[in-house]
């Protein structure tokens, strides 16, 4: 029986834990912060680098490296922005953390701020997460009362303020530069890179944007012996535990904390308890709706960044969506294309026109107007979006289209062959 490895969920899996500051401190919370305050910020970044942690938001960029890229000596303030705009379809891990153990995340946030020399951190929370916003606000209030935020926490001489900012409901604001635009009060639209946020981010100042889960790993990494323990949880370059959001046609959907050397088949059949109603598996979307789909016979693979990349897909935000043999692939693709057509910011051409056009073509199949020609055209429109757009949304919209057509062409043909 495969079991969870509890690092982030250590408190959450404890039924008596009440997420208050007192409870968090009782379970050993804010000890790492105390240790960090005694270190030099460069050493903190070095430790994070050594732990090999890769960003949990989807791109998997090494966090330590990101922090070390922060422009120094510019005379401008540095900022840490926590990306809590979790909106990739199928993903619900950050919400769990914020709802059930906000202080774990906040301690990570404090450590991150200290490491990059940020004196005013921002938490950009998805606008629809009303309970999370309230819980985070309460937790921040608790920290101010306790003296961990504000001037001179724990006698460190390091001043820190935190502001919680709520988004207005755009998927694209989960992209770091669009998030920063939104935070500045502008339209949330991705910016041209370079310059990267580490050079010119929030209000033109060096900024690091990090995922909630990434920051929540920090207290563990910076605890005594944390780096080595963290590295031991997975194969090389894929260290640590991570939160997997398992959803779809499985018996036990949910968010699970797993090591990175776990087989995806075991996640579905063991942790997830197999397919709902004893049906057969048809396919899996392994990392949020943007990742290329996998067929039932392809899932015997280790669930981490590198192994999934090797088989032509990606782990993304670690959201596994399982669908059984009765699933209508065209309807599923229609749902996904509708999502991207709705959420494209519209500034760049391939994504603005391509998402809408592909949605219309998929709808044609559903209404019985499909044809071989249209299938080819859908594949072409998807392909034209791939790699030509300004940000990753164009790619995210294109990859499911191409992989669905590639892996399940029969499902599309069924629609027009019988009609």
């Amino acid at each position: 029986m495969l079991e969870e490895t509890l690092v982030l969920f250590k408190n959450i899996r404890n039924p008596d834990y009440d997420k208050s500051l007192a409870a968090y401190k009782k379970s050993g919370g804010y000890k790492s912060l105390k240790k960090v305050f005694a270190m030099k910020p460069e050493d903190v970044v070095q430790e994070v680098k050594e732990s090999g942690i890769r960003g949990r938001g989807g791109a998997g960029f090494p966090t330590g490296l990101k922090w070390s890229f922060m422009a120094k000596g510019t005379g401008k303030p540095s900022y840490l922005v926590a990306n809590a705009d979790e909106s990739e379809p199928g993903t619900c891990k950050d919400r769990e953390l914020m709802l059930k153990d906000p202080h774990l995340f906040l301690e990570g946030m404090l450590i991150g701020c200290y490491a990059i020399g940020c004196h005013h951190g921002y938490i950009y929370v998805r606008g629809e997460f009303f309970p999370s916003i309230k819980i985070l606000n309460d937790a921040v209030d608790e920290l101010y009362v306790d003296g961990l935020l504000g001037p001179d926490p724990l006698g460190s001489g390091f001043n820190l303020d935190l502001t919680i900012h709520t988004g207005a409901g755009a998927y694209i604001c989960g992209e770091e530069s669009a998030l920063l635009d939104s935070l500045e009060g502008k339209r949330g639209q991705p910016r041209v890179k370079p310059p990267f946020p580490a050079v010119s981010g929030f209000n033109g100042c060096p900024t690091s944007v990090n995922n909630v889960e990434t920051l929540a790993c920090m207290p563990f990494i910076l605890s005594d012996g944390g780096v080595d323990a963290f590295k031991s949880f997975g194969p090389q370059n894929n260290s640590g535990t991570h939160l997997v959001s398992l959803s779809g046609h499985v018996n036990r959907p949910g968010v699970y904390e797993l090591r990175m050397d776990v087989n995806m088949k075991d996640i579905i059949y063991d942790i997830g308890g197999g397919i709902l109603n004893g049906k057969k598996l048809k396919g899996v979307i392994p990392g949020g709706s943007s990742s290329p789909v996998m067929k039932a016979d392809e899932i015997d693979v280790l669930y981490n960044f590198d192994d999934l990349a090797k088989v032509g897909t990606m782990m993304g935000s670690a959201a596994i969506m399982v669908f059984d043999e009765d699933t209508d692939i065209v309807k599923l693709l229609h749902r996904i294309t509708r999502f991207y057509a709705h959420e494209s910011c519209g500034q760049c051409t391939p994504c603005r026109e391509g998402t809408q056009w592909s949605k219309q073509i998929v709808r044609d199949f559903l209404s019985g107007n499909g044809s071989d020609e249209k299938l080819k055209r859908l594949d072409r429109v998807g392909g034209n979006m791939l790699g030509t757009s300004l940000c990753a949304l164009g790619d995210a919209a294109a990859m499911p289209i191409q992989s669905f057509i590639n892996k399940f062409p029969e499902d599309f043909r069924k629609y027009y062959a019988t009609a």
Binding site: A170, I172, R187, V192, P194, A341, H342, E343, S344, C345, G346, Q347, C348, T349, P350, R352, E353, G354, T355, Q356, W357, Q360, R377, N384, G387, T388, S389, L390
Partner: protein, 543 residues
């Protein structure tokens, strides 16, 4: 300067310069819609894709890159014409045309439309889009430009223009995704004074000038370089005309004067250029107290005869001019007085004027001095207004001959009343006005668009204009009238062209020394000896 290669040709660049700007400077055209050298880079149209086959470190870029957002680097090699790039441009163009109404036959941009040009170059000629197109409709956004949103390709140039160039922020992008469109905020009409530029920078027909709408197809227009004479800034323009009628003025890039812009007021000066009704069509002479049409020879003959009869003393001769006259005309008028009458009584109105100071460059384009050549008059040492004692003294005494160029002191009835008494009043001008009422001989001149000339702008930069349209048949350019007049009055030596006059001027007048007509080139040249006080008063622009 460091060097990188475009299609095998070496191109110099400044560190930090984008590929597209270095390429455009060297005459390499990379198709683009959203990029504009005067505004921030957004890289959203994706048209300027290039293939970077060597990043400068021996490795190629993984995919096509946008030339507008990528910094040029030493040793970089890019290709702009290979198969991969062509495919990339083709697909971007296909996406842009998916929702474009293709109403070129009734669109004023047709013929100068980037989308049309690139569709011809890269488009497949057929559409695979078989759904109804997006309809956003037109919006009334103000008096100067019209907005037809269906044609919009969402390049956001107009949005950036009001944000970064005028700072007025009245225009923006609305909705998102496929519905993304442009509009003014809260349905308010636009208020900035530079709206015409939005029509210029719009790469398609979404924003067009209301003045020009449905007037003429652009490929019929002939173009001539000139400057705007609406104020003393002297923005560089192209006069666009067809069949001797001027249809519009478009700004011409000159980084030292107006960059890429001009104001709406300046654009409207084209109307005056087409004015015919109030123009003086032929030389007029006063016969029995009434002005009657005469020939040029008779006009010159009559003036010469009267002057010969009077043989006036230097203090009995006076010339008045306004600062609409070109440098050459002012020079020749002054020379005429000096050579024929040994006189130096030449006056023009030179009130103080206001120059706006602003955080946004474009606001500094409008000055309160609505004449194009005030600094030229200063350089030629033509001074004074009614308040100066010298002019008052000159008109106190007995005047025999008065030359009036243009329409100076038009509101000074006192001056006009006194000059009526002069025995011979010669008026050189274009329009019937209070001076032609009292003149004994009227010599019809020509408008800016009809003659050559140079003008000195507020920053004392000398700029030349070209002949754009044919003048009225029996008029002559003022420089020619003045040189013919001085010949009729007994001067030998004759100028046959404006460059000749200019070069004589640069020889004789200190301020113009070192300049030659040829050296002005397309963008003009500043005076070598500048006047320190040009009467400028700097005021803060109202926003």
């Amino acid at each position: 300067m460091p060097i990188f290669h475009i299609d095998g040709e070496p191109v110099e660049f400044e560190p930090g310069e984008k590929i597209i700007s270095a390429a455009l400077r060297c005459g390499k055209v990379i198709p683009h819609y959203c990029y504009h050298p005067g505004m921030s880079v957004v890289a959203t149209c994706r048209m300027c894709l290039v293939d970077v086959i060597d990043l400068g470190n021996g490795r190629p870029a993984p995919k096509l890159q946008t030339a507008c957002s990528m910094d040029a680097a030493e040793g970089m090699k890019i290709e702009t014409l290979n198969k991969k790039v062509e495919e990339g441009r083709k697909l971007v163009n296909e996406f842009l045309l998916v929702n474009h109404p293709l109403d070129c036959p009734i669109c004023d941009q047709s013929g100068e439309c980037a989308l049309q040009d690139y569709a011809f170059e890269y488009g497949s000629g057929k559409s695979e889009m078989d759904y109804s197109k997006r309809v956003s409709g037109w919006r009334d956004i103000g008096t100067f430009v019209a907005l037809e949103r269906n044609r919009c390709i969402q390049c956001s140039r107009c949005d950036r223009f009001t944000r970064e160039i005028t700072g007025t922020n009245e225009f923006g992008m609305f909705n998102r995704g496929h519905e993304l469109t442009v509009d003014t905020y809260a349905d308010r009409p636009m208020t900035n004074k530079f709206q015409g530029n939005m029509a210029d920078i719009c790469p398609v027909g979404a924003i067009t000038e209301k003045e020009f709408r449905f007037k003429r197809r652009v490929w019929k227009l002939k173009k001539n370089r000139s400057i705007c004479t609406g104020c003393s800034t002297g923005c560089n323009v192209t006069i666009e005309h067809d069949r001797n009628e001027i249809f519009r003025l478009k700004p011409h890039e000159n980084q030292s004067v107006n960059k890429w812009w001009m104001c709406d007021e300046g654009r409207l000066t084209y109307r005056m250029m087409n004015e015919r009704k109030t123009r003086i069509h032929q030389p007029l002479g006063r016969v029995d107290g009434k002005l009657e049409g005469i020939s040029w020879e008779d006009a010159y003959g009559a003036i010469a005869e009267r002057v010969g009869d009077m043989s006036p003393l230097p203090q009995e001769v006076l010339a008045l001019t306004d600062t609409h006259a070109s440098n050459e005309e002012l020079f020749l008028l002054k020379k005429l007085l000096k050579d024929i009458f040994s006189a130096d009584n030449i006056f023009c109105p030179l009130p103080t004027w206001e120059q706006y100071e602003s955080d946004f460059f474009i606001n500094t384009l409008i000055t309160s001095d609505k004449t194009p050549n005030r600094a030229g008059a200063l350089a030629l040492k033509i001074k004074g207004d009614t308040k100066t004692a010298k002019l008052k003294k000159a008109i106190e005494g007995d005047l025999k001959v008065v030359f009036v160029l243009g329409n100076p002191f038009e509101a000074e009835l006192e001056v006009q009343e006194k000059l009526k008494r002069a025995q011979l009043v010669v008026h050189l001008g274009l329009f019937h006005n209070s001076w032609s009422e009292i003149a004994d001989v009227v010599l019809p001149g020509q408008y800016y668009s009809e003659k050559e000339g140079t003008y000195t702008n507020k920053n004392q930069r000398v700029q030349a204009t070209e002949i754009a349209v044919q003048a009225l048949r029996r008029t002559r350019p003022e420089w020619q009238i003045l040189t013919e007049l001085s010949q009729a009055l007994g001067k030998t030596g004759f100028f046959t062209s404006v460059p000749q006059v200019f070069n004589a001027m640069s020889w004789e007048v200190k301020a113009f020394s070192g300049l030659s007509y040829e050296s002005l080139g397309g963008i003009g040249k500043e005076l070598t000896q500048k006047a320190k006080d040009t009467g400028m008063k700097v005021v803060r622009a109202q926003t």
